[in-house]
Structure formats: C-alpha cells, structure tokens
Symmetry: D2
Subunit: 360 residues, 4 copies
Amino acid sequence: MVGGGPGAFIGPVHLKATGMDRRYELVAGAFSRDPVKNAAAGEGYNLPADRVHADWRDLLAKEQGKVDVVCVVTPNDTHFPISKAALEAGFDVMCDKPATLNLDQALALREVIRKTGRNYGLTYTYSGYPLVREAKALVAQGKLGRIRKIVVEYPQGWLSQDVHSKQADWRVDPKQAGLGGCIGDIGVHAFHLAEFITGLRVTELCADLGKVVPGRMLDDDCDILLRFDNGARGALIASQISAGERNALRIRVYGELGGLDWSQETPNTLTLNYGDKPTEVLHAGGGYLSPEVQAMIRIPAGHPEGYLEAFANIYRDFADQITGSGKTVPGIEDGVRGMHFVAVAVESSNARQWRTLKDV
Amino acid sequence: MVGGGPGAFIGPVHLKATGMDRRYELVAGAFSRDPVKNAAAGEGYNLPADRVHADWRDLLAKEQGKVDVVCVVTPNDTHFPISKAALEAGFDVMCDKPATLNLDQALALREVIRKTGRNYGLTYTYSGYPLVREAKALVAQGKLGRIRKIVVEYPQGWLSQDVHSKQADWRVDPKQAGLGGCIGDIGVHAFHLAEFITGLRVTELCADLGKVVPGRMLDDDCDILLRFDNGARGALIASQISAGERNALRIRVYGELGGLDWSQETPNTLTLNYGDKPTEVLHAGGGYLSPEVQAMIRIPAGHPEGYLEAFANIYRDFADQITGSGKTVPGIEDGVRGMHFVAVAVESSNARQWRTLKDV
Amino acid sequence: MVGGGPGAFIGPVHLKATGMDRRYELVAGAFSRDPVKNAAAGEGYNLPADRVHADWRDLLAKEQGKVDVVCVVTPNDTHFPISKAALEAGFDVMCDKPATLNLDQALALREVIRKTGRNYGLTYTYSGYPLVREAKALVAQGKLGRIRKIVVEYPQGWLSQDVHSKQADWRVDPKQAGLGGCIGDIGVHAFHLAEFITGLRVTELCADLGKVVPGRMLDDDCDILLRFDNGARGALIASQISAGERNALRIRVYGELGGLDWSQETPNTLTLNYGDKPTEVLHAGGGYLSPEVQAMIRIPAGHPEGYLEAFANIYRDFADQITGSGKTVPGIEDGVRGMHFVAVAVESSNARQWRTLKDV
Amino acid sequence: MVGGGPGAFIGPVHLKATGMDRRYELVAGAFSRDPVKNAAAGEGYNLPADRVHADWRDLLAKEQGKVDVVCVVTPNDTHFPISKAALEAGFDVMCDKPATLNLDQALALREVIRKTGRNYGLTYTYSGYPLVREAKALVAQGKLGRIRKIVVEYPQGWLSQDVHSKQADWRVDPKQAGLGGCIGDIGVHAFHLAEFITGLRVTELCADLGKVVPGRMLDDDCDILLRFDNGARGALIASQISAGERNALRIRVYGELGGLDWSQETPNTLTLNYGDKPTEVLHAGGGYLSPEVQAMIRIPAGHPEGYLEAFANIYRDFADQITGSGKTVPGIEDGVRGMHFVAVAVESSNARQWRTLKDV
C-alpha cells in the first residue's frame, strides 16, 4: 500500500475492506513521506520494518515478485506516477479514485494499461453497494421502461467552513486535487453512479460551479444540467458546503413505467415507485433480488451492511478479476471518463454555456 | 365561486378549505359552462337555483352586494378576464394560481388591483403550511446564517403517460395553460416557495425544459439552474413525468451555519441539519415554534394536518386581510413574478442560455 | 353542540370536521356551563343569541324539531345523561368517545338506543383514516392469511409532568374520567383499532397499568398482553408519560403470509411486509386501493390528508347512515365493548393476573 | 474457531468481524463434524490441513500455545462443554451467544472462569453498535431523567413458515437450542439491550410465549411485561413469526425528561424526543458524541457502518480486554443473566403468572 499514514481517511478504509473477506493481506507499505509517521504506521499494521519502505519507488523496487497488488491511496497528484510505475513494474494496481490529476494523465495511463496488460481497478465505491447493482440490473431488464430523467445529488457539508485538516487541505489545493474541487472529489462519484446504473452516457452538460467559502481556489458547490445519449434529461447536484449534510449521495432514475430511488446513507433499501401500483421497497438480503446481487451480500436481511462492505465488494470483485473468475471492477475507462467530465464541467461553468462530452 | 364543476380538482378543494374555519360560506356559483353540469353542481352544493348562474358574467351582475369574495377556480386562460371583471365590479377576489395566462395580463391585472383597491389573493397553497412559515421565520432570524444554496424540487408522475382527463387536458393545451406546462403548473410553486422561505430573489436562471411525452405541446419536465440576489446558487427541478412520484415538493436551504429540509408529503416536520450538533426535527404543534406559527395550527402535535388545512390557512389569512386584522396572502406581486419566471425560463430553455430575471 | 367552549380541544375539531364536507351546519349550542364563556363561544361561531342555550337541558327542550343531530363533546362524566336525554327527545346523537363513564351506563345507553331507534355514533376517529379502512379490507380479503399477532401501541408524552390545563384536568380526575386514565383516554382507541382492522375480538388480557407521575389517581401508562378469539397473541402499549412522544398510535398485524404496519402520524401510507417479495407501500389516493377507500379520499395522491379529514370521514359516514345511504359508524356496541375493556384491564392490573373479556 | 462450516451463518460473521481491524488471525479450526465439509471449510479459509482438526477436542489438544483465543460458533448445546474445556486448557474464549444451554451450565461455566482466570466474551452484538453505547452514556448522564418506561421489540419473520435449513433446524430443536426458542435466540438480545442501555435490572416479568407454527416444539413468539428495579415498567416483544419483518430490533427508553429511540436496521442514528424542544437525531460520526463512542467509529459521518462493524467492535474490545488496555465485553454475568431470564420467562408463560427474577 502506498499512502494511508496517520490521519488518512481512505487508506484505513482500503485495509478494513480488504481484511473482511480474507482475499488480501497487507504485507508491505510506504505509508508516509515522513519517516517517523511511516515507521509508526508500519508498526501499527504489524509489518516487519524491512517491508515498510521509504517511498513508493523503494516499495516498487523491493517488492517485485513479493506482492501481487499495489494499492494507491495517496492524494490525487501522485496517483498517475505511482500507478504508471507500478503497472510497468508488473504489479496489478488498485487506485483510489480519481485515476489521475487530469485527463491527459488518464489517457496516458490508459496506454500504459493497454501495453502492460495488468489489471487496474479504481474504487468507485458506491457502485459496490448491492442495491446499486440491483438498480443497474432492473434498469437493464427494462423494469422502468425507457429512461427519461435522472436526478443525482451528493450534498456534503464538511467544507462549509474554512476548515483545515490533512483531508481537507489537499482537496482544496489545485496542485494536489487537480482542476476540480467538489466536482472532482464527489461530483464524479455522482456522475459515475448515474452512468453506471442507467448504462446511459452524458452527452451534454451545463454547469454552475461555485467557490463559495471565501478564499477557496477550487469549486465547493456544483449544479449541473445533463443530457444523456438517449435524450433523457437530468440534474447533478454536488456540494461540500451544504451545511449539515453528511454524505447524502442519492440517485433517482425515472423511466416510462416507474422510478427508482436509492440513498447511500440508507443503502440497504431500494425504492421503486409506480403510478399504478404500490411502491416497492427492496431490502438487501431479499430472496427476490437478482442472484448475482444476492451473492454479494454477506449477512441475512435486516443485518445492515455499509460503506466498508461496499468497498470490500469492489476489492472482492477485483480479486475475482485477477484470478480470472469473471467479475470486473471500474477501471481506467471510468477514470478517463471522470477526468473528461470534470474538465468539461469546469469549462462549461467558466463559459456559462452548455458543452458537449465526447467519447475520449 | 366560478368553476369547480363535476370532475374538477381544485374547486372542491377551495370549498373544503373555506368550510373548515367557518369564515366563508358558499352562496352562489357559476360552476360549469355546461348548463346540466352547472345545475348539478349547484344542487350538490345545496344552493338555490337562482344563485346558480349561467356564467361568470351573469354571476357578477346578479350577485353585486350579495357576495363578498369571488373565488376563481377555472382553467388558467380565464383567470384574467374573470378576476378583472370581478375586481372592477367591486368584489374581492381569491384566484387559483396562476394569476393569469401570461405576463402582460398579470401586469394589467396589477393595474386593475391598484385602481380598484380591492383585495386580491392567489392560492400559493404551499406557503400556507405552518412549517413553511416556520422555515421562513428561521431564515429571517438568521438561524442558518447567510444563505448559500437552495435546492427545490417538485416531481410528479401523473402526466408520465399521454393521459386524458378534465384535469390533464387543459394543462397540456397552450391555449388554456399558457406558455408553460409543468413550469407553469408546478414549477412556479417551487419557485415561489424558494423565494418565500428565503426572502431572496432569483436574478438569473438557465433552464432545460423538455416535452417528454410524445405529442405534448408544452413542457412536462424542467431542470433549472438558479442564481439569487445575494449570490446564492440553486437548482429547481420540476417534473410531471417522474413516474411514480405523487406530489413530492421538497425544499432544502443551506446557509453558513446549517440547512433546513421540508417535504410537502410529510408536512408536519421541519428538519434542521447542522455540522456540529445533532439534527433537529421540529414538529407541528411544538411549543418551541414561533408564536405566529403555533397560532396557525388547529390540533395538538401528532395529529397531522395536511393540504386542505394549508389551503384553509391561506383563506383564513385572506379573511383577516379583508377584515383588516393584519394578515396578508400571496397576491398579484407573486402572480406577476411567477409569470415573469415562466416566460424567462421558457426563453432560456429555447435559447439554451442563461437569462436574467428583472424586477417587473 | 354540547360542550366545546373556550379552551376545549375536541369541540372545535368536531366543528372543523363537520364544516369540511358541507353535510352539517352548526345552528345551536350549549358550549359552557359558564354563561360568559358560553356566550363568547356562540358569538365566535356566529350563532344568534337565542340559539346559544344555558345548558344541554335547555338546548334539548328548545331545539326540538330544529336540529337533527346533537353532538356531545363534554367531559366523559356527562356523556351518558346528555346522550340519553337527547336520544329520548328524538335527536340523533354523535358523541365523543367514550360513550359513557362506565360499563353500566353504556349498557343502559344501549337499551335507550334500542328503544328509541335513533342513530347514535361514537367518534373512534382513527377508524376514519382511509388507510385504516384499507388495512381492514386487506385483512378481510385474506391478504395476510390467518392473523397470528397484533402489536398496537399508543404512546403520548403530554402528561409526563404534573401538568394542569382544561384538557389535562378532567382526564386525570376519576370523577370526570371514570375508572381509566390513559387506558380510557387512548388505550381504548388502540383496542378499538386492533379489533376494527382485524375483525377479531380480544378474549383475554393481562394488564399492567401504572400511575407514574406522583399524585396521579388514574393510570397514565399501560402495557397489556392480549389473546384474540382465533388464538392470535398481541400486545397493547399505551402511555401518556412516554416523554417526547406526540400521538404515535401505530398498529402492526401479522398473518401467515405477511404483515401490515400503519402509523397515525404518517397516515397516508400503509406498509405491507412479506418474507418473499418486496415491501409494498400503499399511498392514499392510489388507484389500486379498494374502491370504497378511494371514494373516501378528497384530494389526489401526495396531497396529505390528516386527522381532521379522518374525523370528517366519520361524520360523513354518519350523515350517510342517517340518510340511509348505507354507511355506518362506530356506535354503542363499540362503546360497550370499550367500557368493558377498560373495566377488565383495570381489574387485571389490580389482581396482577390474566382476565377474560366476555361478550356483553 | 470451532464451528462455522458450510451453510453456517454466524461463523463467517465472526471471521469477517475479526478481519476488519487486523487484531485477530484465523490460524486453526474444527469447522464441522463432517470430515468432508470440515476439510472444505479449511481450504476455503486457506488453512494448512494440519490446522484443520477433526473436532474441538482435537483442536484444543493440538493448538495449545499456538492459539490465543478459541472462538465458539457451534449450536447452543455444545457451547458449554467446548467453552469449559477451552478455558481449562488455558485458552481465552469468545463464544457466540447464548453462553450455554441452560442456567445450570451457565453457573458452572462462571465457576470455571473464576477458577481459570481466563478471558471470556459473549457476542451480544447489538451492544457493539456505537449509538447503543451513546444511548447508554446518555442515560447514565441523566439526559432523560429517571427512567420510567422501556419498550424493546425484536420482530423477525423468517420462521413464519415451517422452514428447514441448517440455521432453522437447531433453533427449533429443544435438544440443541435449550428451553427457549425465540426467547432464547433473540428475546435475550432484547433483554440484554434493555438492561445494557438503562443500567436497570428486570425484577419481575409476566410472559406469554407461543408456539405458533404447527408442530413447533419451542416458542416462536413472545410478549412479556416487565418491571425494573427502579420501578419502571416495560414491554418486551420478540417474535420469529412476524411475517415480513427482517431483524427489526428496536428500543425506546422514556425518562422524566425525554425518550430515546434506536433501531438496529438504521443503526447510525439515535433519536431523542422531548416534549418541550425539537427532536434531536444523533448521527454516527458526529463530533458531539461521547469521546469513547467517537473513537469506535471507523469512517466519517454519512458513511454507514453496520452489523459486521458492531460485531467487530465486540472483538476489538475483547482484544483490548485481553491485552489489558481497559475495555471489556459482555461475558459470563450476561450469560448467566440471559439463561435466568429465559428460564423465568418460560416458567411465567407456563404458569400464566407474574414471576420474579433474582440475582443469581
């Protein structure tokens, strides 16, 4: 693992997620650029000192053949060089989202993956929730009819003030975070979820990105109009200044026959609304779910699974992908698309005009 | 009452709302242009035949001095001529929303009201809910700090199919409904609610209005980016093709200190979210509500009031306005503003560009 | 109307409920034993002074032939004499629940009703909610299979402290309230609802009634084990010292095939849970409801109706009963049964033993 | 680990829970009495064949000094002999609930623990949820005032039919499950939770236990009246025939000043109701929670944790207990108390009378 030292948020999440299903073991790391913190993290993880490396270059050099998967959980700006080097050194790579700092890097990384033929996964965690998979399956089966409208929202409030912390600081710094603030941090999750569930692709957008907290250099609030390739309309609302909100990712998809509604904070239910019959609420663990979704769920209905389990689902699928047992995870195509989305949204917002998303 | 014959939705609502608090009595009507239906409606309301009039002109002529308030519940295209004539004949008027078919009529009606000095009310019903009033009061008191973001949504699904009914038909007919379909029918409610609660005014918008159901001549689906006069951003989503939704008007307002959340389908609670303390849920009937809001509520906490009571609140306030006891209701300024909003949204959507809302 | 003077809770509720559907008119009253308050109430209701009577005897004497229905909204201890006298004087009677102060009076009143042949209704309001009627219909249709378990609860918190008010005082006074405090005030509502929805009858119970607030002379907290005539088990929990609760009447009925769940504070949905298929949520206004339930609903789905509308449904049905159009309302049999339930529960609690409910 | 072979529910839960925080490693097991299944389980867990033992006796003999904690996840009837032997062989033991098959065994096991001085933990999982701990802390701080009423309910529906499965079969078999069916399987969880949160102890109860599904030899449905040592009243409702319910453990505790409400299926919120101020909803991850509760939570507010995390919390605390860092977990006292509760409830139900719970 690269990154994930003291104070980190996402590194420990990766570890807990990998520990749950006994498919991965943490054997080596370069956790922090600060030697003291790095050593402390290694000890905390019960690693022998010789597998705690000074930096990622060191790790890649010394762990050749000893490690299968390199897990990249550093700030955005180093995702590209580390992933590239790891892939070229023959490792499979699981990288925390986003794939890279910008679109050019993402395109370059795609080339690396094509050339090396290594497995590359990207933790679009929310696509790991069982009922998100069920939603995708239901749309694919035509349960809602032709899709007409998508509303996806992702309000958070934790950057409502000019806070400072390890997690906040790099996210609001263009050098480490890239072009997008909120749009790149959580807007892409909403965007990915909308395309993931519906199988549609956004073709046009009109964005209004704000830098609301005084002094902020990147957007912290986003409202975006969407058009999809089948003509459907939509709206994407993402915000990190929606004071009081926690992590309220929610998606509603409306077709000719009905609508679905899923919220990340209560992830174990999926609601289907119809005009002419009662609302249906599907529960994680229900025997009526798609077989592949049932197979994802670890415990009986009514025993809630959460974010870590969704994360673990991505990792479990990645293990299946590596061992050739058929599952796949979000990867570089999702990464490229996300970077393109961020770039076009920023451009649209600056121009205050509609812009087109191309296939890149 | 003018309008409200058999099959009507809103006419009977006005009657139930006025009956609740014993401040109004139905004494005369012109319920339908069809004489048979008109007579039937009159009988249904226990009116003597001589007070059931052939049409509104007849009613205005014969009820001079016998009636205080004329209630207009016809399709949109006749709101203006009836309201104008009634005001000029010396009646006070309560008109179902929207005020008129278009902005020009609304401006003309404003002149009539100025000249006649009569009372004129418009049933922006949702502003009659007690917890909407509480929301307004809390924002005014600065409880949320400076307002930064507003998300208002109004999804319905009942026009998802090419339905035909008395209620559906005029709403999708430009001649009877005006420039706007969904935007004029329910989008204006969402718009009004956002301005009503926050006290802010929309200054710019970028709309994407769709005619989704094949053959529809007016919009049935709207996504709109908003900017407010204090710099706040927002989004307005209204739809009549959100299959499976009932009447899910909801508003969220975020300030520097916290956010509020209110939903019309569960109108007796108002949720306040904060980053640094627990969520607060205010209940209708709570002794901690503003005194003027407490005074609006008819029954103790836990005994739900609903849409008819909100409607009745508007009528009760209008009775207070007429008798000079101080309350006011939404009126022609709200009507003019709504018409202007519809016109600008349609224009923005056609041009696919941002547009400015002026004070008119 | 008898009762319902200044400060009353339930009198104004009756009036609002009767005003809604234009089936009743308030034409006379004896609102308070205090002449000043009585006159004030009459004026508030716009009644001529000669129809505001000094007391109920006066009212019955002078309104012979001028009034159809006498509505009794006084404290419990006077329900019996007023109802009896009114029926014997040839009026139909709608009485606020409970029918009488005790079982003997209820039995006597039943005789009066049999002899006079007048219509007599009792406002078991909660049975007036449309989705309660739907629940009853679904059970009757066998949708849940044989009923096995019933959990009905009615927590309130408003008597958590030693409060004093017009409404609180008579409820905690054995002379005015009868044998039961909480059990008589709200426990009987829960009991009635359980029998109403399921069509079953309680045959045995074991009650634990508490007088929790120091100095209270009647129970303010009740937990009761139930057995029904088909062998089903159940629990009834009612409380007026459940601090913080408002009016959280809720019932769950479980059969062999599934369970239903209805809550009074969100009365416009009814939830059906099954083991082998998704949860179904039925919405007031849905076209899939029983025709007789659809006919009860005044406004489209998503426009919430509440307590006053439920109350108005009882009154509307009573008007239909009086005019012979077929509907009926809870009446003296429900009253007798409720009184018997209260007596047996109090006895069981005192003895700390199971007791039998007989048909009386 | 002893138990947890193919088809088991709780064994894999223990493993996932221990894997999450990297405090435990699975190194040996006796997973099934069937040698084929046992070997298959061992392989599935990547264990070398020589650490997959034929039975628990074998495991205890051969793993002396190689293993720290023996985890017992077999059916109830073997909990006692395995735990006893493991403790006497010098292992620490984490046993799935219940501790033993009956009270006598529980008392005997208590002696063994006293003599051996080993650590012994019992997975009363629900006490591992952070907001359950917060509830306990709030009650202890007096936030609700003196506790007056407790309603705890645990409806499930999965045994509504005469199902057969590995998990169902032993639960309905008196030889393997003990005296209690539903009461022993989930009723004790509800009982434990009530005492855990409030710090009160049940002193009397009156139970009505039913064997609802034809042919069932143990109770599958329980309604119990409770009295607590401070005079508070309560009700405990547990059921496995509440068709359509999943795992709906819920507790409400009412004090003089307010009430708390927590539901296992939405475990990341805790609701506090008051009469005189707004309802408060506490969210997992909130900075206003008790420091020790904040320390339990792995991911930021809005990222849901669930049942596995609650389970992992018990294990993490047990690791802290073993290493002497101060935390403790439910243990033999809870086990003894649970067995006593089951015995008294069964006796009370058979006698149809109130019974006393003593300290044992």
